[in-house]
């Protein structure tokens, strides 16, 4: 079977795991079979919350990407074999060919790909899908297509040039025939194959585009189709008869049905699954993590331990953010990097299961990642070193403000920080904020907070979205929340932007990362891990290396 089960609750250091680009041969179906997989049966997925959006152009979150693989197909997608991801062509025959220094990208669609009603998938439908990302109401999804295709700095500027299907055809995408799709970008773009794997790159049939209705029940191209979707209640899928395995090198169609139920708390679901009560034995959770309450129990009982599926949460990194415009003195930021008590902080989060200690800005899952540690300190922090740096500060700092999303675990985490900062002579003022408006309160406007913990993630596992989208001084507060401002870095970023070759670009960004880190703009804390549970009768469960949750498209009923 693919993936690893949770016999490793406390992962040491995971090897760098990057998604290589696959060849055209890798892109031909069927997907590599899973040992021991069987056909038939129903798989239950019990999640605490339902899906707000299923419209492919509105989906913008790891788990929904992951689950939507069941019914949605994109130009490219990650093939995962033994936990290793490879980007391959999905609807397209390969990951795309670029010309004109990265300004033109061409994709050809495979033969035999069809919608759930049997009609073939065409290049125009892919184009229509991408055109929708310009339309009002699609602000929720990623903004790369509008920005790249119009050469605009942001989506607002892009939609002024083209406002979606209502403005007619978008000239930047050409569909010479039903099978070919050609993108023309004003500036060179290196990451198109990765963007082509995003849900936004799914085809949409204009005749079936019912607006709000499509958000609830999109038309399937994948191995399963949606039979019923009652929002926040349940979602039922069954086999799509028009999906052909030989066209798909990624997905499987083992189970007969998928039944999603929403609303039950993770603790309940996890216990049901671990105890095999009710539908527990044939259930998995994809949106909920194993609750800390059950950590010890799953460790004690080997039968339960094997039901825990763990892995790194995609390319996420958990950092202590420092607002550089408020904590302007790099010496103070360095002091914070030294005193940060990673060990104690992780202890209140449940220990090693929460993740590995991080020292780098980007995740080991990113292509070309290099390990470095610019402020080496024991995991419990180095107060002496911190005091040294504080002494070097131009103005002594005695008080800092730490904002966090108000909840019990975060409350305790705040106390850990209060303790550590206190030891270094800094009074930490703690500001619990309403979780619903946390982002808004911390990022927008002149928020009066110096520190907060946050998770950054890249949209795909190359370094090209991390620094350019977060550390350029011209970016707005929403992207560059810490107000990092280093003219040298700005300049370098502008240079790198123009590189069309993916490899070169990635290497340059990786090198730039350490330059940025010298300023200690943030303190890397964890490469977070996730643990989820699967029922006794569920096979093929692993944490998707890119999307960071159990991927439904690989599951099968081990008992059927």
């Amino acid at each position: 079977g693919a993936g690893k089960s949770g016999d490793d609750p406390a992962p040491k250091e995971t090897a760098p795991l990057t998604a290589a680009l696959g060849t055209a041969k890798d892109s031909t179906g069927p997907a590599p079979a899973i040992d021991g997989a069987r056909k038939g049966g129903t798989i239950h997925i019990a999640n605490p919350t339902g899906y707000a959006h299923l419209d492919p152009q509105k989906i913008y979150a790891g788990e929904t990407y992951n689950t939507s693989l069941l019914w949605g197909r994109q130009l490219t997608q990650y093939q995962v074999v033994d936990g290793k991801p490879t980007l391959v062509g999905d609807l397209a025959t390969d990951t795309g060919t670029s010309s004109d220094g990265g300004r033109t990208w061409t994709y050809r669609l495979k033969d035999g790909i069809a919608w759930e009603d049997g009609k073939p998938v065409t290049a125009q439908q892919v184009k229509y899908g991408i055109q929708r990302t310009f339309a009002p109401g699609f602000e929720l999804g990623p903004t790369y297509w509008p920005e790249w295709l119009t050469g605009s700095p942001d989506r607002t500027a892009a939609v002024k040039k083209y406002g979606g299907p209502k403005d007619g055809d978008l000239d930047a995408i050409e569909t010479p025939d039903d099978k070919t799709i050609v993108f023309h970008f004003p500036k060179p773009q290196a990451d198109v194959p990765y963007m082509a794997a995003q849900s936004s790159s799914s085809p949409v049939r204009e005749d079936k585009d019912t607006g709000t209705g499509y958000d609830i029940k999109p038309l399937a191209t994948g191995p399963y189709r949606i039979v019923e979707h009652r929002q926040n209640q349940r979602l039922t899928l069954e086999r799509n008869p028009h999906w052909k395995p030989e066209t798909d090198s990624i997905r499987h169609q083992y189970a007969d049905r998928f039944e999603f139920t929403f609303g039950k708390k993770a603790l309940n679901t996890s216990q049901e699954i671990l105890a095999g009560r009710g539908d527990g034995a044939s259930s998995v959770t994809t949106r909920a993590d194993l609750p800390p309450e059950l950590f010890r129990e799953t460790e004690r009982d080997p039968a339960k331990r094997k039901l825990v599926v763990s892995g790194r949460q995609g390319a996420y990194v958990n950092d202590l953010y420092i607002k550089n415009s408020r904590v302007t003195d790099p010496e103070v930021r360095k002091a914070i990097a030294y005193l940060f008590p990673r060990q104690q902080a992780r202890q209140v989060m449940g220990g090693p299961r929460a993740g590995e200690f991080a020292t780098t800005l980007s995740s080991p899952a990113v292509v070309g990642w290099k390990k470095y540690d610019l402020f080496p300190a024991p995991p419990t922090g180095d107060i002496a070193k911190a005091k040294e740096h504080l002494a070097k500060a131009e103005k002594p700092v005695t008080k800092l403000t730490y904002a966090y999303e108000s909840d019990p675990v975060q409350d305790r985490l705040a106390q850990v920080l209060v303790d550590a900062f206190g030891k270094a002579g800094i009074t930490l003022v703690t500001k619990p904020l309403d979780p619903a408006s946390f982002t808004h309160q911390v990022f927008r406007g002149p928020a009066p907070y110096d520190l907060w913990l946050s998770t950054n993630s890249v949209d795909w596992p190359t370094p090209s979205t991390l620094l350019p989208d977060g550390y350029h001084s011209k970016l707005d507060a929403l992207s560059n929340g810490i107000r990092y401002n280093n003219p040298a870095v700005d300049k370098e970023l502008e240079r790198i932007e123009k590189i069309g070759d993916a490899g070169q670009k990635a290497a340059a960004l990786i090198d730039l990362e350490q330059v940025v880190m010298k300023d200690a703009p943030v303190v890397p804390f964890l490469y977070p891990h996730v643990s989820q549970v699967r029922g006794e009768n569920i096979g093929g469960a692993f944490i998707h290396p890119i999307y960071g949750s159990i991927s439904a498209a690989w599951l099968y009923r081990a008992d059927s």
């Binding site: 109401g137 709000t212 926040n232 216990q271 105890a275």
Partner: protein, 330 residues
């Protein structure tokens, strides 16, 4: 009676107006912005403003409130975040941008769970609470009295979280003694319905029974010494039957009142119990909405809860007047 119903209806309407207005106002004063949340973290100012406009949040608070009330009576058309119109039939409680569902529909989805939970829990509360209160009062000062007091007080001092999870762990997941908590519609499978709700009923009932047990004990002790109870025994009624028929009747009015309050609260949703047992009821819907700043759902659930309270309090008053002929309906 007729004028009573009329007066109560008017009062209820006034209460509901006040409550919805208060909920509206409170959320307006809150620092978080529903438009931002609906739009998503990556929205820029212009987009947020567009969303705000299509949600109608750029209008004055009073106008929004009036719109809302109008929709309640006649239904209305609401814009989705992207401006697509959504038909919302009367009684329209608005459209939730978080759930992507009309609030009326969301509540209808969650209501059966809450109703089932409340009905059973009330039964347990009454049987357990009044039953132990009765036995305690009859055996005042005895060991039985003390044991029952202690038993119900455990209920009062224990947390539903704790009790719910501990019992599920011990009785469901480790030993199979109890059926798995969950909700099956009554119409589909009455047996499964009762089985799935058994543990939640017991826990909710046990935790809330103490008030009833204590109050009924105290009330019964108060009434037990009335002359008419002695008369009843003088007629030849056994002490037990005399207490059941006469003492209980005399002690009933405050209990009926409390039961009305409890019913109002339970039918409005029992958030913690619903969460602990993984039941998706109105209470959970409400708190999720509050936490997620989902204004229409908040107001909708508040309205429902308020309606329940108002109705049950009125019914309780009616019952009290019926129980005690000396009391006039006010």
């Amino acid at each position: 009676m007729l004028s009573y119903v009329l007066r109560r209806t008017l009062q209820a309407a006034a209460v509901l107006l006040a409550i919805t207005a208060a909920a509206f106002g409170l959320f307006y004063a809150a620092p978080s912005d529903p438009a931002l949340i609906a739009c998503g973290p990556k929205c820029d100012t212009a987009q947020v403003e567009a969303v705000r406009h299509s949600m109608g949040l750029d209008q004055p608070l009073v106008a929004q409130y009036v719109d809302y009330l109008g929709g309640l009576v006649t239904g209305r058309t609401i814009n989705d975040v992207d401006g697509t119109p959504i038909e919302c039939g009367a009684p329209c409680l608005g459209y939730s941008y978080t759930l992507h569902q009309p609030v009326t529909e969301a509540i209808a989805d969650h209501l059966p769970v809450t109703l089932s939970l409340a009905v059973g829990a009330l039964a347990v509360i009454v049987v357990l609470g009044v039953g132990t209160g009765l036995v305690s009062a009859l055996r005042r000062g005895s060991r039985t009295d003390r044991m029952l007091s202690a038993f119900t007080l455990i209920g009062a001092s224990v947390q539903i979280y704790f009790l719910g999870y501990a019992l599920q762990y011990l009785l469901v997941y480790s030993t199979d003694l109890f059926p798995l908590p969950g909700y099956v519609p009554l119409a589909d499978d009455p047996g499964g319905w009762a089985a799935g709700l058994l543990l939640p009923w017991l826990v909710l009932g046990f935790v809330n029974a103490a008030v009833f047990a204590r109050l009924s004990r105290a009330q019964l002790l108060e009434v037990m010494h009335e002359g008419y109870v002695r008369t009843a025994r003088g007629k030849g009624l056994s002490a037990r039957r005399a207490h059941l028929k006469y003492t209980a009747r005399g002690a009933a009015p405050p209990l009926a009142q409390l039961l009305g309050l409890e019913a109002g609260a339970l039918f409005g949703g029992a958030f913690i119990t619903e969460t602990v047992f993984g039941l998706g009821g109105v209470g959970k819907l409400a708190v999720d909405a509050v936490v997620g700043n989902d204004l229409p759902t908040v107001v909708g659930t508040v309205l429902l809860a308020a309606l329940c309270v108002v109705v049950f309090v009125a019914v309780a008053d009616l019952v009290v007047a019926w129980l005690d002929p000396r009391v006039r309906l006010a």
